[in-house]
Symmetry: C2
Subunit: 211 residues, 2 copies
């Protein structure tokens, strides 16, 4: 039995990560489908052929980047949904978390926004799968709240998708705000909160008419 990580494996992981990092850097300014394999390996300082030791395709690298970008977010979503505070506070916190996440992972989020409807099928599918999981998590979080009494699972699902949609478009909007323009940022935070409040208000009164 060998070490779980010998020198060999560690070095391989290192250049694999270098490929991912360089890819993300280059993808800040262009599409995945216009990223060249040679362009990428040149940036890393490695021969073109070396790429194939790690990925069969640039599409595969894209899928790996999707996991990197959104994988760690599921825990965050579940944590937010599990919180028990009044809804106003929860909304403010959710918006703040989105804003912070975008700021700290700007290239990753930009990549996801670009490729969500981009030209590479595998990557589109990977992103769609992640968003689907987010909706699942939000839906089950909502189901645990007292406000959801009387809602069918299908209705909760639609509501969850609405929240996720809002999360995505808010994140995309934050991308367009320059890092050094706190005023525009605050404006966006304010708007995002208001939109969330409108949705939550609609949710609270959903059963009024049918009763």
């Amino acid at each position: 039995m060998s070490h779980t990580s010998g020198v060999r494996q560690a070095q391989k992981r290192q250049t694999r990560q270098a490929l991912l990092d360089a890819g993300l850097r280059l993808l800040e300014q262009q599409n995945l489908s216009s990223l060249g394999l040679r362009e990428l390996t040149r940036e890393v300082g490695v021969s073109p052929a070396a790429f194939y030791r790690h990925f069969p395709d640039l599409a595969a690298l894209g899928v790996a980047l999707v996991e990197e970008a959104l994988g760690s977010l599921h825990g965050v979503v579940r944590a937010v949904m599990a919180q028990t505070s009044d809804s106003g506070d929860l909304i403010d916190r959710a918006v703040a978390i989105i804003a912070e996440y975008v700021e700290r992972h700007r290239p990753h989020i930009r990549f996801v926004a670009r490729e969500r409807y981009g030209g590479v099928r595998e990557v589109r599918a990977a992103i769609a799968a992640q968003l689907h999981r987010f909706a699942d998590e939000v839906a089950s979080g909502l189901a645990a709240q007292p406000l959801s009494a009387g809602w069918t699972p299908e209705e909760l699902r639609v509501l969850a998708e609405l929240y996720v949609d809002h999360m995505v478009s808010t994140a995309a909007a934050f991308l367009d705000v320059p890092a050094d323009d706190p005023e525009a940022r605050d404006h966006l935070v304010h708007a995002a909160r208001m939109r969330l409040r409108i949705i939550s208000l609609g949710r609270a009164h959903w059963l009024d008419e049918t009763v």
Copy 2:
């Protein structure tokens, strides 16, 4: 004074349109930034150099496609907003119009969805400008409704953006539904209506808390 359209001009417009049509066809399966100039002219059956008689760039062709895709929609939006019927009916009608528009202009809408956050700055800007105009139109439509009494212009603007966002993401969702799957389509129509109702409900109760 010459004719407004001689044979010369008419033929020029014709090949220009052929370039746009072929571009749209090719862009159903790929990004604008991965579309080749030669690939395009080959599809049209014209020499590569001919392209420059009509556009300086592929980016310029992209901008023209944005106008083609969204330009005619402003009238539709204004017409819908001007309608005076109960809100439930209006919601159903709006969703139906979106669904139909996507079905009849699928390649155009796909193009816009792809390039909204795509790799070509000029095209992104053109799309953002169009969406901005949509928000303006929706906002002024909302302002004319009695329900908007007590709303500040800023609040109306945020609400309008929420509606436009919803319109866009609904349209994008329709893109993923195969043309021969009316069941999935109906499911989507139903979900879109519900989301719109939630938003409209939230709007109706927005002033409850501050009063």
